[in-house]
Amino acid sequence: MDNRERILAIVRKVSDQTAVPGPDESLFDAGFLDSFALPDMVSELEREFGIKIPDSDLNPRKFESIARIQSYIESRM
């Protein structure tokens, strides 16, 4: 499974949805994430990719879409 698929699996898990968001689609506007699913997703990303995301990087815009999440995660790997 590549990084994008791993991220998609996490988004589906925390959103409890089976639909697949577009790479640049806003996960908030499309209903995959809300204020309380976002912290869950960040924790899952840390666990899945074995990284520690510093609080200073916790800007919701970094996690707005699959493409943005992938870009950020790969910058931390």
Partner: protein, 309 residues
């Protein structure tokens, strides 16, 4: 060492329901409850000010103790300066006693308690007061559905004194941790003559991590576990957030005292109001560990640990 001698609170009598606000905000009353856990809140009358509410809460927290200092937290005072500290002291008949304002917003009650614990051995009994008239800022036009229904008015107070004599009080303050980080200052702010501005996603994301981390830091350095804490008295910002903090600490959410359903978010006053209610019923028993925690604009956050001897 310092001890908690009492808590008090004052809540305005006017109840504002979700149904009343939903009509103005073009939303369903149930939506407000779902996203916040808030069913109703109190709004102060025009005659009830940050000062009058703070005075009433202070009187409920004390008897005839001699007061050496007053710390007053408010982010919703009627004017830029002076803050309400000196006015509250004057109304309490405490002219000449140093009264210090702490414009720290939501974490103000916690910061006040932590400062009082450090200063009480020097200054004697310290009144910590947090009083907020948030309706004046949350209901400022243009109304925002994600902000306006969250807030309410009220005041809380705590009397903290030197804990070295047997009569000082049964609940000793063990330790506290306080943190501030201005990197996200723009995400929760009240500018002059503007509505309250809140990036809810950022606030919840940061609070979800920082509050459990602060509590964990405090417990770890005092060799205590979260499961040993009898009650968590936390800033009442959002029921979903409190449940999330409980989950992060692996404790049952029922150990987080909650009155947000009735009062909404009263900013810096909320933690002291919750503490005052808990203090009077059921109140502390010998051996109980009590953990206070708050997070808010700044961001400022932290936790304080106390124990009933």
């Amino acid at each position: 060492m310092a001890a908690i001698k009492g808590f008090g609170a004052y809540m305005p009598s006017r109840i504002v329901t979700n149904a009343e606000l939903a009509a103005r905000l073009d939303c369903e009353p149930g939506w407000i409850l779902d996203v916040s856990g808030i069913e109703e809140r109190r709004y102060a009358s025009p005659e009830e000010t940050v000062t009058t509410m703070g005075v009433a809460a202070a009187r409920a927290a004390m008897n005839t103790e001699e007061i050496g200092m007053i710390l007053v937290s408010s982010g919703s005072g009627e004017r830029r300066f002076p803050g309400p500290g000196a006015s509250i002291a004057h109304a309490l008949g405490l002219d000449g006693v140093p009264a210090i304002d702490l414009p720290v917003a939501s974490a103000g009650g916690l910061f006040g308690m932590a400062l009082a614990a450090s200063l009480a051995p020097i200054h004697g009994n310290i009144l910590v007061i947090a009083s907020e008239k948030m309706s004046t800022v949350a209901m400022r036009e243009p109304l925002e559905r994600g902000v306006a229904p969250l807030f309410g008015d009220g005041a809380g107070a705590c009397l903290i004194g030197p804990g070295i004599d047997p009569g000082a009080g049964p609940v000793i303050i063990i330790d506290s941790v306080l943190h501030s980080d201005g990197a996200f200052a723009e995400d929760l702010r009240l500018d002059f003559d503007a509505p309250l501005s809140m990036n809810g996603r950022s606030v919840i994301l940061q609070a979800s991590r920082k509050i459990p981390a602060a509590i964990g830091e405090l417990l770890e350095r005092n060799a205590k576990s979260a499961s040993a804490v009898k009650v968590f008295l936390m800033h009442q910002a959002n029921q979903n957030l409190m449940d999330r903090v409980a989950k992060a600490l692996a404790v049952d959410p029922s150990r987080f005292y909650s009155n947000i359903r009735r009062y909404g978010n009263t900013s810096s006053a909320s933690m002291l109001i919750a503490a005052a209610e808990w203090w009077h019923d059921p109140g502390p028993n010998t051996g109980d560990l009590i953990c206070f925690a708050a997070f808010g604009a700044g961001f400022h956050w932290g936790a304080l640990l106390a124990q009933c001897l």
